[in-house]
Symmetry: C2
């Protein structure tokens, strides 16, 4: 027990964390609407690289907030059950926004196998069909599989889906950078972490930052 | 669509990713039992810093594998539902190992509020009671809250719990480094990512690497 603990009350830990993040960002300025999203991603990862890599289409935050405020008309589709588990449930329920992850669905596994696709790709196709059938708008949250982003871009090209927002923060080594570049070149509101980094926790952090914005307005 | 995609079959993406990781580690050597854990953490984060920060007690991998092979006698306790969602279900079910996360339990929230603790702290106390009552051994997997690690260390000091393994990879800015140092100073098998970094995905990746070791033996 060589190291002393900083004495911080349980309810104060998050506030103190954001204070440290702000100090270490040394006066760096961000777009007002984007700042708390970037800081929450740093809070989730302890990785200041995201201050440089987080990239937003000009309308991204506005479109995201509008879609979330639209409650029952909006569905969040994730590419991992981890992100689904990480989104703040109470905030979602207040808005009436549902979250779906189709990755573990047997029909997705079947389609993927038959057509030689990844399950992530097939699950995004399923999301596009769901959106068509229900008329709901979709916020895609991709924190794991670059092939999910590639699927979304392909489905947009074909006119099969018009996402309200694409959160593009898959992590990894094969086609991750390229998939993010494709989404940023597409005509869609996006929030992307450029480069190889990202993850399910980053995807959840971005959604939570958006949800907390709405919570704080109330 | 400026960037060409690397053509990799769905079933080959993970293998190709590990190939890239191995290439970029440039011949760096790790302990044989630890190597695939470290590489899986890098695979999950795209962050090579973990090659330097992942730290194992000498007996950690052996103790972890023994506990997991012990199946129904072992319970994994996580500090987030995200980690719980990220552990490979089929591998767990084959072994008969259960996973519990008490973070969202109403009694944990109540105790935390009454006693001025974090919910993470109170949920680790609940885990210690569960272990006592059931006689099961516990693998703790802490990917979020340093106060969970502090709770485990305090409970060990009091003789309330003897973990089979502590995975200590919380992320953040307040007492994260200190909590990890305390676990590494305690008499317990541990796998820790030194420093501020870690997360629920890292915690899940470590458990999955261990589970896949056992899967591959069969």
């Amino acid at each position: 027990m060589s190291m002393e603990l900083e004495q911080v009350l349980p309810g104060e830990i998050e506030r103190r964390s954001f204070e440290i993040i702000t100090e270490e960002l040394k006066g760096r300025r961000f777009d007002v609407g984007q700042e708390d999203i970037i800081k929450r991603v740093i809070h989730t990862t302890a990785d200041f690289e995201y201050a440089d890599t987080m990239t937003f289409s000009p309308d991204a935050v506005k479109c995201a907030l509008e879609a979330l405020r639209d409650g029952g008309n909006t569905v969040i589709v994730t590419d991992t059950n981890m992100t689904k588990a990480g989104i703040h449930r109470t905030s979602l329920e207040k808005l009436g926004v549902e979250v779906h992850c189709y990755m573990a669905d047997p029909d997705v596994a079947k389609t993927a196998k038959e057509q030689g696709l990844t399950r992530a790709y097939a699950s995004m196709e399923k999301a596009a069909r769901m959106a068509k059938e229900t008329g709901k708008q979709v916020i895609f949250s991709v924190g794991n599989a670059p092939t999910a982003l590639i699927a979304i871009e392909t489905l947009m090209q074909k006119g099969e889906i018009y996402p309200a927002l694409v959160i593009g923060v898959p992590v990894g080594f094969v086609n991750v950078v390229e998939a993010k570049e494709r989404i940023m070149a597409a005509k869609v509101p996006y929030i992307v972490a450029k480069g190889r980094k990202g993850g399910s926790t980053v995807a959840a952090a971005i959604l939570n930052a958006l949800l907390y914005k709405i919570d704080n307005e109330r």
